[in-house]
């Protein structure tokens, strides 16, 4: 039949600074989600479930967790002799060191990977969104229209349009105007999802135009406007399904907890579109005789002997007798001591919460003093390997940095709302 070949290029280099300590030691796509998954599992699984088995993963920021997680791609069926997954790290070429200067530049520096695979179509994806999508219909749509570029778009509320690239289309879904994070609300509400399908040829042409006067470093800022100005065939593809950018602490927390509803919008329990991940080898979750669990997700390897309500526990979490975990997201191997109380907290891996400690008590309205734009919704964040000493009281919107020890805490064991340790 058709000899078209699509290659996926997954942008996984982002630092995700709005996730504070969660992305301090790992790239945003490697951040754990829904207990045992990582954010990148969704995009990767979408690729293989769509029949796309050649995937380049472009890294830059702190890729070690991501590399460990992806390995040779086996959990996603991507360890193949033809195609498969390839981690594409920044490298030095003859022109000296060249870190990726933007989304388009990252692709530009790896076009040799696209060419080696003789792909005529490039699917550009970001690795930090949560959604299930079959890319084949969008690829067919792109080819039927003879498009140079197809951008997946979805309707968002008017209040949010200033966070996205907003597209205006004509009656044939051709994109006629594009506004990156517009301040005015009259540009419509079709937001770019950061999913692009390019003809390799058209993409290469535009990327080659890169120069100080005509930069082509970023898709949203440079490449797409250039293509529209030059009259290329650029189309919008409407997507209407579940799609979330979990790039802030509050959206990360609320997206995770939304999974605890009886019929969540994102269904992880059906076989129909499986989300593959690198599973850890842990025994089944053990629930003690006095434990009480309500509306929560408990991963393998957990031992729960206390009370867990409306929370998600990653593999290996230990909840001591008398401990209470509420409205929280707790990552791998964290130990929660007897009588400790956690309320609206996001805790990274391998933290230790001492006996009787209270985390998340106080006024939710007091934003974090150092990062008021990142921690303001009443959620307290505890970094990887942090230790919270016994009977410490920690307020809301507090940030406990990774690796904190007893000596880092005030002597009176009180960390007020909005403080940082």
């Amino acid at each position: 039949m058709s000899s078209y070949k699509t290659i996926a290029m997954l942008l996984a280099g982002g630092a995700g600074t709005r996730l504070t300590v969660l992305s301090e030691e790992r790239a945003k796509p490697a951040v754990p989600f829904a207990g045992k998954f990582r954010i990148i599992d969704f995009t990767l699984s979408n690729c293989v479930n769509s029949g796309i088995y050649t995937v380049g993963v472009l890294t830059q920021y702190l890729p070690h967790s991501l590399n460990e997680h992806i390995g040779i791609g086996k959990p996603w069926d991507l360890d193949r002799s033809r195609g498969g997954v390839r981690m594409l790290h920044p490298y030095q070429g003859r022109q000296g060191q060249q870190w990726y200067g933007g989304t388009a530049d990252a692709i530009a520096q790896n076009m040799n990977f696209v060419d080696d695979n003789r792909a005529d179509t490039v699917l550009v994806l970001s690795g930090d969104h949560i959604y299930k999508m079959d890319y084949q219909p969008m690829i067919e749509y792109h080819r039927e229209r003879g498009a140079d570029l197809t951008v997946a778009v979805m309707p968002v509320s008017l209040e949010e349009t200033n966070r996205f690239g907003i597209m205006q289309v004509d009656d044939h879904q051709r994109i006629v105007q594009f506004h990156e994070k517009p301040k005015d609300r009259d540009k419509g509400n079709l937001a770019s999802m950061g999913i692009y399908i390019f003809n390799t040829h058209s993409l290469q042409k535009r990327l080659n135009e890169n120069s100080p006067e005509t930069p082509r470093l970023d898709f949203g800022q440079h490449v797409i406007p250039a293509m529209l100005a030059a009259g290329d065939n650029v189309f919008a593809y409407k997507y209407e399904g579940y799609w979330v950018d979990v790039g802030t602490i509050d959206s990360y927390w609320s997206t995770n907890l939304a999974l605890l509803q009886p019929n969540p919008a994102l269904d992880l329990y059906s076989d129909h579109w499986p989300i593959h991940t690198k599973s850890e080898e842990r025994p089944a979750a053990k629930i003690g005789p006095q434990a009480k669990i309500v509306s929560s997700m408990i991963s393998n390897g957990c031992i729960v002997r206390g009370l867990v309500t409306n929370s998600i526990l990653s593999p290996g979490v230990y909840v001591s007798p008398g401990a209470v975990v509420k409205d929280s997201v707790v990552m791998n191997d964290t130990w929660i001591g007897p009588g400790a109380l956690l309320d609206k907290v996001v805790i990274d891996k391998q933290a230790v919460i001492g006996a009787g400690a209270v985390v998340g008590t106080g006024d939710e309205a007091v934003a974090n003093a150092l990062m008021p734009d990142k921690l303001f919704a009443g959620i307290t964040v505890v970094g990887k390997n942090a230790y919270i000493p016994e009977r410490t009281q920690i307020g809301r919107n507090v940030l406990i940095n990774s690796g904190r020890e007893e000596r880092d805490y005030p002597a009176d064991k009180l960390v007020a709302d909005g403080k940082t340790v």
Binding site: P283, I287, S295, M297
Partner: protein
């Protein structure tokens, strides 16, 4: 390279596991939620740095083959050594059905002889235990033994289930009695043998030696061969009966279970399924259980072990039971002291393990007499059915087969046996 290669007996049909082995061989029987029995000897091998492992299959091997694959979860897909499945075959002087465990090894003697290692570690495939085989191998080599048998003290009331040995002061086996009706000693053979390869080959020339416990070991004692015992102190359970299987699973629920599956130094590897974490609903009660990934629990579950993907509806009650993968239990159902195999659907308000009538099972009175009811794989139980105790419902029984019956009496069976 280790000095021994391993052969695991995977061919058992074990009728005393009832419906669990009607559809699969014994080593493929699930355990502890997400494991299978064979994961224990297999993991013990690789954790002991024995990477040349063969599994002898015969009875209903499909589940086992699927589970083992190419051996990747146990790190056994290797260019040298690695995992091999040895199936029954025809042709040559040795080809034919295996009549017993020693006979099974005999039919693969050509394979045995080709292995570079000098000693052969023979393991039963149906015991639960965590063991480093290296100290046993060291003792075997140091004593210059022809064979070494792993032994362990057992409960004096259970001696009739095992091969019982008498040991001398320097660990030589002086006497061996297979399943004695009355025994004075309580040291039992664990079904773990290390043979010097040359000795094994020599002994198996005798075609009458069909079983290690019944023929080979007694013959070795008789002819005064250098036969030694290695005492193993750790947890070890033969889960070859419905009662023992249920008890071993339940013992995992203890505060400090004797079998420690949480030791990162000795991981039990298995082929993991990809499932989301267990989801507990708003009205669920889940104290005292093992819950695997993929479970969705909205009802009440206590003192039970759930395999991946089990769905318990709101209003359902499960107590003291083992529920295998992907079984669905509808609202109002009450399951008490039952073992429910995979892919079973239990209709609304249906009671399994109901009442106080503990009449032993008609067909398996020695195995099913403590009130445990078993339901085979793929069965659909209709709504409003009451099933008593010590009952066997055979696999793949359709709801229609029950037609208008409302009651299955204690001690009876229903459905068609697949043996």
């Amino acid at each position: 390279m280790a000095q021994a290669f391993a052969i695991i007996m995977g061919g058992g049909s074990s009728e005393s596991l009832s419906v669990l082995t009607e559809v699969r061989s014994e080593p493929a029987v699930p355990f502890g939620g997400k494991f299978r029995l064979i994961d224990f000897p297999l993991s013990n091998c690789v954790n002991s740095e024995i990477y040349n492992v063969s599994i002898l299959t015969q009875y209903r091997p499909q589940s086992l083959n699927n589970h083992i694959g190419i051996g990747k979860p146990w790190d056994l897909d290797r260019a040298s050594g690695g995992l091999r499945l040895l199936q029954p075959y025809r042709g040559g002087p040795l080809g034919d059905w295996q009549q017993g465990n020693a006979d099974a090894v005999r039919r693969n003697l050509d394979f045995v002889e080709r292995q570079p290692e000098e000693h052969v570690l023979i393991l039963a495939g149906d015991h639960i235990y965590l063991m480093d085989y290296r100290p046993m191998l060291r003792q075997h080599i140091q004593t210059g033994a022809d064979a070494t048998v792993g032994v362990r003290r057992v409960n004096i009331y259970e001696t009739h289930r095992y091969g019982i040995v008498s040991l001398s002061g320097d660990d030589r086996i002086l006497d061996f009695q297979e399943k004695p009706r009355r025994a004075r000693e309580t040291m039992a053979s664990m079904g773990i043998y290390i043979f010097r390869k040359s000795v094994l080959t020599e002994l198996l020339q005798n075609e009458n030696y069909v079983d290690f416990g019944r023929h080979v070991l007694p013959a070795m004692v008789e002819s005064d061969r250098a036969l030694y015992g290695y005492t193993f102190p750790g947890y070890w359970a033969d889960v070859g009966t419905v009662q023992a299987y249920w008890e071993a699973n339940m013992s995992l629920l203890a505060e400090e279970p004797a079998l420690d599956l949480y030791n990162p130094e000795w991981i039990v590897h298995t082929r993991s399924e990809e499932r989301a974490p267990a989801k507990i609903g708003p009205h669920a009660q889940v104290g005292g259980n093992l819950l695997s990934n993929g479970c969705q629990v909205n009802g009440s579950v206590e003192r039970s072990v759930l395999s991946p993907g089990v769905y318990i509806a709101e209003g359902a009650i499960v107590r003291n039971s083992i529920i295998l993968s992907d079984t669905v239990i509808e609202s109002g159902a009450v399951i008490d002291r039952a073992i429910i195999d995979k892919g079973v659907t239990i209709g609304q308000n249906t009671l399994v393990g109901s009442g106080d009538d503990n009449t032993p099972n008609k067909e398996l009175p020695e195995q099913l007499n403590t009130g445990l009811t078993v339901v085979g794989k793929g069965t659909t139980l209709p709504d409003n059915l009451t099933i008593g105790r010590n009952v066997i419902i055979h696999p793949y029984t359709d709801a229609k087969a029950f037609s208008r019956r409302k009651n299955i009496a204690s001690g009876t069976n229903f459905g068609k046996s697949m043996r």
